[in-house]
Symmetry: C2
Subunit: 240 residues, 2 copies
DNA sequence: TCATTTGAGTGAACGCCGTTAACTATCGCA
DNA sequence: TGCGATAGTTAACGGCGTTCACTCAAATGA
């Protein structure tokens, strides 16, 4: 592990500046505003120079997406670590942190959780890879849920039903995370899609016709989720 | 209501052909492949001619989105009408039809349920309009749920809690659909975001790292939803 | 019937875009 | 000191949305 040469330092700095410019354009003008020429212009460069750093615009966007996944995951881990040792508290803190990041960064959320660009499909296609960003993010939620299950099992549908319906179809998850109690797997997937639906609906403005301040709905649903995980005994299902 | 003139007939035909071409490009190449020049090329025309029909590409895409909303809504209504008179059966049939359409038309789903294009925001911004496509679609689910509530109320969180958390924030929904029992409102919103999350996660390929055949998960969750609506008394929560 | 107005479509142009190719200058190292 | 690798340039190609001036056929009205 030798020290980086001067060239390497300059290179990584330029690389970071390119991605920063791409993100700035993404935030201010949407994904369509992210163009090599605009990035280069902002840097006082010309567009073809960027090809020394990325083989194509698509690859640049994929790299940006990977960075965003990491940023989000680190944020969730920080929220988890600040939530104390109770798995339910950790899960709730992570759900709230997930929503907060998403609402604060709608363009970034759209890039990594929205409709996959036909060209960006390569980024999502290697789903068997355990280092797939989605899998790494899922793991952050999965671990406390497994922890909780071992401390105090939460109610689920009958295991035979889950196994019959889902059993054969969990190969990707098994490949990336090993064997997990199938009740936990089901609860995780159900919770994940629910969380995803709440956040995506809000960020993608699919609730504007119905409700202002979707956070209120989010908190209500979080209470219901927490109730199902048995973490709270208040009769009204309120989250702590 | 006089008969359309020859000119009008030709105009509507050309208009439909433009939108059909746009949709074909959307399906085969994603939203980025929808270009005035490509549409015109397929029609044996030149791009500026399309400006006789739409003021901009963005307006064309917005019109296409409105058509897709209608197509989906009509499909859901057909599924409802084919499901018999039981509200729970109607709701389940509509949920399945929603998923089937979305999985069969991922590009179209992405257009109307994905991240709003900054330019397309005008399309979603007039959320107060009761004829907003989202509101019209929501109504299709809302009606059977109200019906069900009046026939046999389903369990919900305490009404005081819902009212406290959600009460003031339902103005948009009230404007488009009038007063609705707040328990129904909550159950509808919770169910809508859950359904949306399941379908969007599948269509946007956010589950590939975890599960093959997301339909199995969808059916499991549908069973849980039906169970919560009290429509099924089977102990395993299976949908009919 | 004939002149006129309207509407649909064309072609050229402008400024964006991604990408490639040929070229230049500088940095780091032997 | 010289040389190869590296980072940048300019020019060009084709594609894009959009505008403008123009043509030509169809509808309209006296």
């Amino acid at each position: 592990m030798t020290a980086p040469t001067r060239r390497e330092r300059l290179r990584t700095a330029t690389l970071a500046e390119i991605k920063a410019g791409a993100r700035r354009l993404l935030v201010t003008g949407g994904i369509d505003a992210v163009s090599l020429r605009a990035i280069a212009r902002d840097m006082g460069m010309t567009a073809p120079a960027i090809y020394r750093y990325f083989p194509s615009l698509e690859a640049l966007v994929a790299a940006l997406a990977a960075d965003l996944f990491d940023e989000l995951r680190l944020g969730l881990e920080a929220a988890r670590d600040a939530a104390g040792g109770e798995p339910v508290d950790q899960l709730l803190a992570m759900c709230r942190a997930f929503r907060a990041w998403s609402v604060a960064h709608p363009a970034e959320f759209g890039l990594i959780f929205g409709a996959p660009t036909p060209g960006l499909a390569t980024f999502v296609d290697d789903c068997v890879d355990p280092d797939h960003p989605g899998a790494r993010l899922g793991a952050v939620f999965l671990a406390p849920m497994i922890d909780l299950w071992h401390r105090s099992p939460f109610p689920t549908p009958p295991v035979e039903l889950i196994r019959e319906r889902l059993g054969d179809r969990l190969e990707p998850l098994r490949l990336s995370h090993g064997d997990i109690p199938i009740e936990v797997t089901y609860t995780f997937l159900a919770g994940w899609t629910r969380l995803y639906g709440l956040i995506a609906a809000e960020v993608f403005q699919q609730l504007t016709w119905a409700v202002t301040e979707p956070e209120a709905l989010f908190e209500l649903e979080l209470g219901a989720l927490a109730g199902q995980l048995g973490g709270v005994d208040r009769p009204d299902g309120t989250a702590r």
